[in-house]
Symmetry: C2
């Protein structure tokens, strides 16, 4: 039955994740990890539910320092959790705002064998709590002799290293996006609006077998987009534009994250020069990403490669990041990030250059760190800009 | 320029939202509202960014008790915020984990005219904080003479009442989904899997002009789905199934949320009886939803209408909810919710019946509360189950 809801992971995979979590918890002196966000629950339980878009009913998973996780979930979710490998399921009739699982969570934490009197929760770096802060406070207030502490360190040390099954999901998402990127010069033409292009791109991702497509950005301006975070506009793409498309497409929750650039009509020498410099900086970053070096070292090498071509895109602030069940995960490829790269990490490497004010060129590729160095997961962007006519 | 990024709202609309927020803040004795979640930022600023999928860089909007909002945002987002009606924009080079906007937020709050020494934040009911809890704690620790309190009351009192421009967005999303629901008997046939149906449904929503489709559920089992929260399965739909499809499709961030049921092949008398009872209970709920009654009253009327047909679906726990920039918003249509209905509220009304163990029938419609009563936004589901062959 289980395979029906989220194919591709065996219960052995989940057992291995829990074991590694428990090793990390022991080192951080924690008796458990309390998890509430979609990606952390999915990581340990394996299910997906778009039902979590609703903030009425929080879901909880408690990973103890020994033994299997406990799911504390609204009754409406019980039938779906029963399909997973989780055996200890506790539920309450929800909505029940006066006790939306709070007393069950307090009980479950109180039952944990107590060695350190500390339980990690999603309080810190690049984490979001999947319940209201007032509810966290009620849980903290209801515990005796157990402290809730920041669980960011064990969570990210765990999730930063991907299993081969996880890498396979990422690779599938990458390949789906790659197929559609290849089609762009065929279906986009001068005069199409950003909205139209984005809609067609999304349709093709869907047809190729994508799951949710949480991120899809399409920006185009003369010589390069002036910004790369906003929604699509009605603006038609025109001769002289650089068209930038970036997608975080998922397969069973795992993201790809890479962009592609397309020259619309005729390019300028300045753009060709900038594009080549960013492409080469990406090559430098890919070659630099080896086990044992820091994320900051990878940044530094790319910054050097870019520096003679103008100011690198400071407003971006980094040139890459981890990738997995979230579109960005630690580490950050930035000078001050001293995370040492290890086999199993999946990194997006994305140098960018604002080669003239308001004209951005950004290249992004994704690599798996292996014993031998960086193994490209993305099909390498062509050195010459593909053209749209 | 602004219209290009999020068409449909004038700056007058945003001014009106801020004015109402300020009235509510005065009543709740707050000097400001600090907002960090996507939907609250979008509500006051008007922009959309799928970039917010990344948890590396938090975004903040501070709505003061007088005057216009302040945006405190990572530099990478500056260019897009400059396209909006917001004039006071403060930014920092992000990522900067040691101060990810914290000092700017503390300064902005400290500059607020101080009447009550209280600023509301997204701490409570049906809210999620858009920054790490440790960062909230750092902000609280850095403030002198200003307390951060739960802002749920003014936020929801404000957002529960929709403007006509907001209702128009919801209605557009409803109509897009309605068009595709009408097509279901034409494109679904016995033997299709839930995955296939869902993929085709999504493609058609996209083709009809949908924005993001955060929620799309397709479940089918003999006589009715045994649960309605999980992802799609490979299971082919078969003669005797009830096929349940539910979608939260958006237009400029505003959701529709309604399901449709389809009989696959031949139905049983028990299902026909249950279906008719739920359909009628929905009618009772729609008629009960008038200004001046409580959400609990609407629930009670539907519960009575369902009660002679078996146990109503207890695990669901409510029979409806508000709708807007989130797929579920307060109030809850449940007995204990004493929220008084007012013109401008948009409510999903969804009675459900587990007419036999593991066989669920659920009907959902969406209404706008007006002076005259409930005005249907959804095309009313047919009284007889549409058939798939």
């Amino acid at each position: 039955m289980y395979q029906e809801t989220d194919p591709g992971f065996t219960s052995a995979e989940f057992h291995a994740r829990v074991s590694r979590a428990q090793e990390l918890m022991a080192k951080q002196r924690m008796d458990g990890l309390l998890l509430t966000s979609m990606d952390n629950i999915r990581y340990f339980v394996g299910i997906d539910s778009t039902f979590w878009e609703s903030y009425t009913r929080p879901w909880f998973v408690l990973v103890p320092s020994a033994g299997n996780p406990v799911a504390i979930i609204p009754e409406i979710g019980r039938a779906i959790i029963e399909q997973t490998w989780i055996e200890d399921i506790r539920s309450w009739p929800s909505p029940r705002p006066e006790d939306e699982g709070t007393s069950l969570v307090i009980s479950a934490i109180s039952e944990l064998p107590r060695r350190h009197g500390r339980v990690g929760a999603e309080l810190g770096m690049e984490l979001r709590l999947g319940m209201p802060v007032t509810q966290l406070n009620a849980i903290v207030g209801g515990l005796r002799g157990v402290e809730i502490v920041d669980g960011a360190k064990p969570i990210w040390l765990l999730r930063m290293i991907k299993s081969s099954a996880e890498v396979k999901k990422i690779k599938t998402a990458v390949d789906i996006a790659g197929t559609v990127y290849d089609q762009v010069p065929g279906f986009v033409k001068i005069g199409d609006s950003e909205r139209t292009i984005l809609r067609e791109f999304r349709a093709r991702l869907n047809a190729e077998g994508a799951g949710a497509i949480p991120t899809l950005i399409c920006r185009s301006d003369v010589g390069g987009p002036f910004e790369i975070t906003g929604g699509p506009r009605e603006r038609p793409i025109a001769d002289g534009d650089l068209l930038f498309i970036d997608t975080g497409t998922t397969v069973d929750g795992y993201f790809c994250d890479y962009d592609r650039n397309f020259q619309v009509g005729k390019e300028t020498d300045a753009l060709v020069f900038a594009h080549e410099r960013v492409w080469k900086a990406n090559e430098v970053g890919i070659n630099a990403a080896k086990p044992g070096v820091t994320a900051g070292y990878v940044f530094e090498q790319m910054a050097k490669a870019l520096s003679s071509g103008g100011e690198y895109l400071n407003s971006n602030g980094r040139m890459g990041h981890g990738l997995g069940l979230r579109i960005t995960e630690p580490p950050s490829v930035r000078l001050e990030d001293h995370t040492v790269l290890e086999p199993g990490m999946v990194l997006c490497i994305e140098p960018a250059l604002e080669y003239e004010p308001g004209k951005i060129v950004l290249h992004e590729e994704t690599v798996l760190i292996t014993d031998d160095g960086a193994h490209l997961l993305t099909p390498r962007a062509p050195k010459q800009l593909p053209q749209i006519r």
